[in-house]
Symmetry: C3
Subunit: 498 residues, 3 copies
């Protein structure tokens, strides 16, 4: 019995220490305290999540005082009124209200429903600027304003009707698109009206938002900005710990069109991560390779500031992830050098299609990285690889990746030649007829060749692992099978039309 | 060197404290001590698992003494002889022996092989009662006694023979069914004989069980009860920690017919869970939102008692999971309002099919929740959502889900119309011919439309995430492709029969 | 404030203790210190990983001094010069240089690029000997030197060309094979030249390796040895903790051809592991069942030395994993008794095919385990099962597995009969025509029946779980669908050729 009492006392003592040390870091503004007054009861989970965040226990002033490499804010200056308080409800939801169409009067305060990247830029300026140059920030318009992808969306998301021996594709359905393509690409969030609602605190007015909720990477916000920091730093903890773990990326990079997470999971890197992550430090800034982590996560190679024990910088922090990427691997019929500009609205190939690549796989050079620029991007990535691997190891890895890009593009080209023959003989209606190229059976078989199988094969290669995703799990087994089937489909068309 | 000695002493001291505090909680009955005498050696893993359980270190009396919200037992009264001992081997395996066909004399004691929900009800009365009203408790008969599903089982599980240009489906194989459908649905566990076995302890008699082992949710036990608490509270730890984690549900809710876990895994909730779970407390009762966990697991929304820091109840504990569910999303050609009664034996539609929905998607109202009842169920769920999300956020989520149910039912209807045409022209033999509707090529294509693709799309919608499962991973990409293929199959039949 | 200071002091004190206790275990050789002099800067991640390893903090002398069951080395004697230093860079990369084609002069030392199993055998002799008898050690030649599998590789990995209405399969591409089949099976690593490279430390010579990097289980090393210990004990931690976790096995055992990890993940074992692993001890040797772990991982059943609390041995450590396996479940058209010899080069069936099984599913007895030997292997496995399960439970499990092997072989046979009919009528060119049996549409359908669906069904059965992988996730649903499609394909061929 006494021993239990001792244990209890020890535990209590330790907990008290922790509590004290947390308690005296709380420094909420009066406004935030007022928010918490009601919202702690209304949204206990949300508030609980924020209470565990770094935002709740640090002021921007403290953040700015850190040594450069440890600093998590990048603004040169932070407005005075924000400096000495925690980063609370009011601090984030009251910024730039004049630019927020979703701003509304709420219990005497002007509040925005949506906190946008341009709001976060108040403290995280550089990250926001980098992200704007990231192709992800433009994911909305790059998809829905691209006439070819619009045809694709139509085929996938719209309703089908079978009547009088005919299968017809119906009209666009926004609600469907919100939880389909736009779940990841982002919706356009717009205020459509102001609604008066009866609440526990009496009648209150709220803006009604179209396209809400959404946390897609290219979300169009009510202040006109693009993106959602919460895609990777989920509300209301906004933590770097979450963003640094691969689960975050898996939300949008798991499907057969872009199986990055699935490949990572069964790669050597993923194995070591899963087996040893409980010993990693996902919080520390800067992130020390070999000490804070031994196997890289997505963030290690694509985003984070990585240093050695003695704080020499291996990789600078970036939120423009293509900084270290030479190729655009997925989402296009042929992998091609990464686009120069994140906004793809002007991209067009010689067939007049909105693609930075020709239908035979040749990149349209004016829109994409030059060989030298590609080399530069690859070198940045190799620096990270070489922190754990020999030069030969790393170089051979990239030689294999280049080969795989060539080979997967080549099989796509052969599939395109078969499809062209099908089009040429009029069995299906596509490019030569000015019709949707995704909506008939052989066209769909062709789509799957590049959208799933070539992509999967390339990801397995790019991440030096996940052997199966390069062979049996939507890899070469399936692409070779699919081209055989596509060829047989052509022969069947010919047999039936003889 | 001295420093290592100090470390050793500290460690030893802490370990001793822990050991002492465990040791004095042991209070096994004499019978259980006798069981442990042999079985610790025979089944060290099993006993080790139990030793780590709450059952091994608490008596029902202690459990009953807890404040109401913290209490893990729900019986009004617990038999005297059980009150002051740990919940050991004998306490569970000796209950209600007169009702157990699997009861046998074992070293002077009457022992049951299988511990059933009705045994667990001795202490966990309310949970058992709720579970009986859960559709999962009836998973065995709802499947195998439904003539339509029996046809389906035949097609999937039975052997095929190719002879004389004919493909024939063979007879039922119970062993196959045990590890196929019945792995999750539960087997019928029956005593078929008593066998004498030569053991390390001499000749002993044991009941021989058909359908054993099995932990399916609707298992028919030798005492006639339905279900297996061990489906989610696996032996012999029976822990709430395991049941509260999504891996438990993944055992039966991962396949393409019901990809709940896969969707969760790549949802925002799943991401936060995976990234931060090491900080969660999966043990505490009641479960405090925002403190014990910040992102919900399956249990948080569907089962657990959830409270705020100040112990106001957000959701009552329930083991009747449809309490918070308005819809039956999967396992039926069309999603429809949740059935009123968990036992579906009387359900029949106007075609005489054992379904609570017509073949055109209209629910058979007498067997399912009314609109008002659906509203009630949804409201219960929304209370949980609103703990972290705004009203608008939550409402819009459910508007999208309703839309997705309508749209996925609609595509199933169009597929059904094509299949009807195939049947009508006699290309395949189905409903109009009184034949199995699952066994021919177009029928199988039709099945996959709703069983995999519509379900997957609905789960992605219902869980507000897993974008890919609504599009490229068995979602809208595949359902639109499949209806195109089904239409082409009809055209091929027509071309060949011209 | 004072409380934070106390917390800081306590933390500092604890950390100091740990550091001291680590520090005084460092005992690097002078050579290794010299390696570290440059490579800590060049490869901080690699060195950091090694610094966390047991190799960095123990000498072979200390390892040999452990009690037998706790010993992690199995060599009878270890060379004197290695005994009293840590297992550092130089100790591993300088062994048996005369047998290493990849040995080169590096700053005054003779260094091997690749450390091979024969090098590791210096300390881990028994493990290396066992592994050599493991079929995995022969994964390279068993695949690429088997004429039938070579045909298969050709179909999957080679390039296709569509020209003049003909689809042609092109030439072998080694770079593709390295990251496809050979990623898991292992490459042949050969020195092709010596290259002079300009480094930060001046001009240096390095051997240029073909087939490098690779960590496949059957890698052919530059010293002629087979295998890569790093497949499962990844560099440079070489930890047992990683090898004991299922993520390691998932690297090669996840795809649809061998979904062991996927099945495990959703099995009861996998659920308990995922839910409770944070309480497991993955490091302790020997591994105590019920204390160090409560649910088994892959290693528990297939490799590890498992003991009870009182150190009685349940299973001996083995690196010849088929020791406990009666069947070869995957990678062959029909599951058959495990091959007698790990090297399959002499295996041939009565059709002259390099398989230990006839095309009708009969095993070729001379190459496989006898019934008695199978029984022996199964008994070894059952001993482990019975540590947690009753005899009846375990026996019934294996009865179901045997049944599933019979049934999945049977459906493969029916598919083979349909394919034979297709070949017989000349619709496709296969076995009777001496042609590749994998390259046409019906042949590919047939391949998928056994390579994916039969395998998946068998794994779900063998691991007593993952119900879905036996039904809807590449299981019986798909195999029954596929045989229906294959039959329809035959009928279509007949209709078109009438």
């Amino acid at each position: 019995m006494p021993s239990r009492i001792i244990l209890f006392i020890c535990t209590f003592f330790l907990i008290s220490l922790c509590s004290f040390s947390f308690a005296d870091e709380m420094m909420n503004s009066d406004e935030t305290e007022e928010c918490l007054g009601c919202h702690t009861e209304l949204h206990p989970g949300l508030v609980g999540s924020w209470l565990k965040s770094r935002h709740a226990h640090n002021s921007p002033l403290q953040a700015l005082a850190k040594p450069k490499l440890e600093r998590r804010v990048s603004a040169k200056a932070i407005p005075d009124e924000l400096q000495q308080v925690s980063v609370g409800c009011y601090e984030c939801h009251s910024l730039r209200t004049d630019q927020h169409a979703d701003s509304f009067e709420h219990n005497g305060y002007q509040i925005n429903v949506v906190v946008s990247p341009d709001d976060c830029a108040t403290c995280h300026t550089e990250e926001r600027e980098q992200y704007a140059k990231n192709i992800m920030a433009h994911a909305y318009a790059n998809l829905v304003d691209n006439s070819l992808y619009r045809d694709f969306i139509t085929v996938v998301n719209n309703h089908y009707t079978y009547n009088d021996k005919t299968l017809t594709i119906g009209a666009q359905d926004l609600l469907t698109e919100y939880e389909s393509c736009l779940y990841c690409h982002g919706t356009k969030v717009e205020v459509i009206e102001i609604e008066t609602r009866d609440t526990d605190f009496g009648e209150l007015d709220f803006p009604v938002l179209e396209g809400w909720p959404n946390q897609g990477v290219g979300r169009i916000n009510p202040d006109g900005s693009k993106g959602a920091c919460t895609s990777c730093h989920p509300r209301h903890a906004f933590s770097i710990e979450v963003a640094r773990q691969p689960y975050t990326c898996s939300e949008c990079h798991k499907g057969p069109d872009v199986p990055a997470y699935k490949v990572y999971e069964v790669s050597k890197h993923g194995n070591i991560f899963s087996s040893t992550k409980s010993e990693y430090n996902f919080d520390r800034v800067p992130w020390v390779i070999g000490r804070d982590f031994t196997a890289p996560t997505c963030a290690s190679c694509h985003a984070s500031l990585i240093v050695t024990e003695d704080e020499s910088v291996i990789a600078e922090r970036t939120h423009q992830y293509n900084d270290r990427l030479a190729w655009r691997l997925f989402g296009v019929p042929y992998a091609h050098p990464h686009p120069l500009d994140a906004d793809l609205k002007n991209v067009v190939n010689s067939d007049g299609l909105p693609l930075a690549v020709e239908m035979d796989g040749t990149p349209v050079q004016q829109f994409v990285l030059s060989k030298d620029q590609q080399e530069e991007h690859t070198e940045r990535m190799k620096t990270i690889c070489n922190s754990c691997h020999s030069t030969q190891w790393t170089d051979n890895h990239f030689i294999r990746l280049d080969n795989t890009i060539v080979k997967t593009n080549a099989i796509t080209l052969e599939a395109t030649k078969i499809l062209s023959d099908i089009w040429g003989q009029g069995f299906e209606q596509g490019l030569p007829h000015g019709k949707n190229i995704f909506d008939q059976e052989a066209e769909r078989m062709w789509t799957t060749v590049w959208l799933f199988y070539a992509n999967s094969t390339r990801f397995a290669s790019a991440m030096a692992g996940g052997g199966d995703y390069g062979v049996f799990a939507n890899g070469r087994y399936q692409s070779s099978e699919q081209i055989t089937k596509l060829f047989e489909r052509l022969k069947l068309y010919e047999a039936l039309h003889k």
